[in-house]
């Protein structure tokens, strides 16, 4: 049955605006990073760009592959978390916003499969977006002719992007639960934005490694110095958040009254 539920979940994305907007959003990120690199490499032309040129100069960034990869990691972390939340809000919240949850719940399908299939769709969707980000990043960096490329650097940076994406995904069941509880889009997106702020606050303190929403910003070096290897405690926190999020979402789907 899971195969059928998965097929229907993918079918639901057909002609969906969110699908295309998410591709567009992630396609812009490497281009934005590439533009930044170009401005840094061309200071005279950058100066003619006014504030953007000044900011680029002030950032003290050098136009090379290590800087560009760092930028891509940061974009994948912050952009990824926001985008993941939007995708999760859409996949889970739409059933309530569009009033179709009652149709699904009255079907001869175990309600757990819907949760599993929706999470799988989010994982595949976001996985493809991350691959796009990496592929496009490599292309843009190559077209710009950035210096300092090495295979170990590329493998390590791509690994960091994938790990950040995976950690971000592991926090998504909680967002899915909020979307189910809040029966729509606003609550999960609001929750994620709030958690991102809290994540930066906690990340700047010694408690960051214990707070799930600090861990991705810490991996990106946004909240304090960059953490390149996750502490076992952080892994446990993220794992527990995932398990609790899945359990809460499944419970909500199975037991909560559907009054919409």
């Amino acid at each position: 049955m899971l195969r059928q539920v998965l097929a229907t979940e993918f079918l639901k994305l057909r002609r969906s605006k969110i699908t295309w907007l998410s591709w567009l959003a992630f396609a812009i990120l490497p281009l934005a990073g590439g533009l930044f690199m170009w401005i840094v490499r061309e200071p005279e032309r950058a100066a003619r760009l006014g504030l953007l040129g000044q900011k680029a100069g002030l950032a003290g960034v050098t136009a090379d592959w290590p800087s560009y990869f760092t930028m891509l990691i940061q974009e994948a972390c912050v952009g990824g978390m926001v985008l993941l939340a939007i995708i999760a809000a859409y996949v889970f919240g739409r059933e309530h916003s569009e009033g179709t949850a009652k149709n699904l719940l009255a079907l001869p399908v175990s309600r757990h499969w819907f949760v599993v299939a929706k999470l799988a769709v989010i994982l595949v969707w976001f996985g493809l977006l991350t691959v796009l980000l990496i592929g496009e990043g490599l292309l843009v960096g190559t077209l710009l002719g950035l210096p300092g490329f090495s295979m170990p650097l590329a493998v390590s940076s791509i690994g960091d992007i994938l790990i950040a994406g995976l950690v971000g995904f592991l926090l998504i069941p909680v967002v899915a639960w909020i979307a189910t509880l809040g029966r729509g889009y606003l609550a999960p997106i609001g929750f994620t934005l709030f958690m991102l702020v809290m994540g930066n606050v906690f990340g700047a303190t010694g408690w960051g490694k214990w707070f799930p929403w600090s861990i991705v910003p810490m991996l990106a070096g946004i909240a304090g110095p960059r953490v390149e290897v996750l502490a076992p405690g952080s892994l446990a926190v993220v794992g527990l958040t995932f398990v609790l999020g899945v359990a809460a979402t499944m419970w909500q789907w199975r037991h909560a009254d559907n009054t919409q």
């Binding site: 079918l11 002609r15 739409r94 569009e98 009652k102 719940l105 079907l107 559907n258």
Partner: protein
């Protein structure tokens, strides 16, 4: 529970705080029967339907469908149930055909079921149109097609004629009648429109304020009308005493407006007037009233007849 019972509820109730949305409903719907669940808006129809389908958990009591106790998450029996709850909804970005294909896959129906459902609800012209661009009436047809697609033994339909034009209502009525007569499908349908239910249902349950206040066959409902003499008089207490004493009229009902309904002496209006006026009472109104079906329903549910 009789062996041909398809839907049974026992003391079914749903409370939201102090609000008793459904308050102890007992139902017994038989195989092949079309059961009309009639009530005004907010009477508890949709809440009852949600409990029948396991969408919400009863505060007390229970639901049995096709011999299986229904609880949220009970899915096996739902393979034999088609439903339409409240408003017709569909995925707006998907076409009619794609929406039905989702239903087909999730009910493990054969591929031909989608085309069959489209034909049954006469949606051929709109099959490749996105659901978000359908008229309300066609959205309702799509919802009905979804409910029928897997050839269920039981249909639980909440206001199935919503948004349909008069011709559509007649078509759907004919379709449900055929399903009941030819395939033995049991139909439980709610409505707030008496005429719709009276035309179709074999049996009607009237629900009001969460309670099932009357249950009767349509023939009984059609013939159920009551006649009475309506009297508006200056002193109702004195009038009651006079009518009992002089004319032997004892079946009298007081109205909230201070009038009287006399259920005896329907052909004695002139005598009634003479007795009341002769005793010095001010008689401002005296007329014979014959309640029709609608008035009966309105009276039962506390509306103005």
């Amino acid at each position: 529970m009789p062996t041909d019972t398809v839907i049974a509820t026992h003391d079914l109730a749903k409370h939201y705080g102090d609000v008793r949305a459904v308050d102890g409903i007992d139902l017994d719907v038989r195989r092949g029967e079309i059961y009309g669940f009639l009530g005004r808006n907010g009477s508890g129809k949709t809440t009852t339907i949600r409990m029948l389908l396991g969408l919400i958990r009863p505060s007390s009591g229970d639901v049995t469908m096709l011999g299986t106790r229904i609880r949220p998450g009970e899915q096996k029996v739902l393979a034999r149930v088609g439903s339409l709850v409240e408003t017709a909804t569909a995925y707006p970005n998907l076409t009619v055909r794609e929406n039905l294909d989702i239903q087909r896959r999730l009910t493990r129906s054969p591929r031909g079921a989608v085309a069959e459902a489209i034909a049954l609800l006469q949606l051929e012209e709109y099959a490749d149109r996105r659901a978000g661009r359908l008229s309300l009436g066609n959205k309702q047809r799509l919802a009905l097609a979804r409910a029928l697609l897997h050839r269920p033994d039981v249909l639980v339909l909440d206001e199935p004629a919503n948004a349909l034009d008069p011709a559509g209502i007649v078509e759907v009525r004919g379709l449900l009648r055929r399903l009941a007569d030819e395939r033995g499908v049991t139909v439980f349908m709610s409505s707030h429109i008496l005429a719709e239910v009276a035309h179709l249902a074999d049996r009607i349950g009237i629900v009001h304020a969460g309670k099932l206040i009357e249950e009767l066959g349509t023939d009984e409902l059609r013939t159920r009308s009551r006649a009475f003499v309506k009297v508006v008089v200056s002193s109702p207490d004195r009038a009651i005493a006079l009518l009992d004493d002089r004319l032997g009229i004892r079946r009298v009902e007081r109205t909230r407006e201070g009038g009287l309904h006399l259920f005896d002496g329907l052909d004695r209006a002139a005598e009634i007037a003479r007795v009341l006026v002769g005793d010095g009472l001010d008689l401002s109104r005296l007329c014979l009233v014959e309640e029709d079906l609608e008035a009966h329903f309105m009276r039962l549910t506390g509306g103005e007849a």
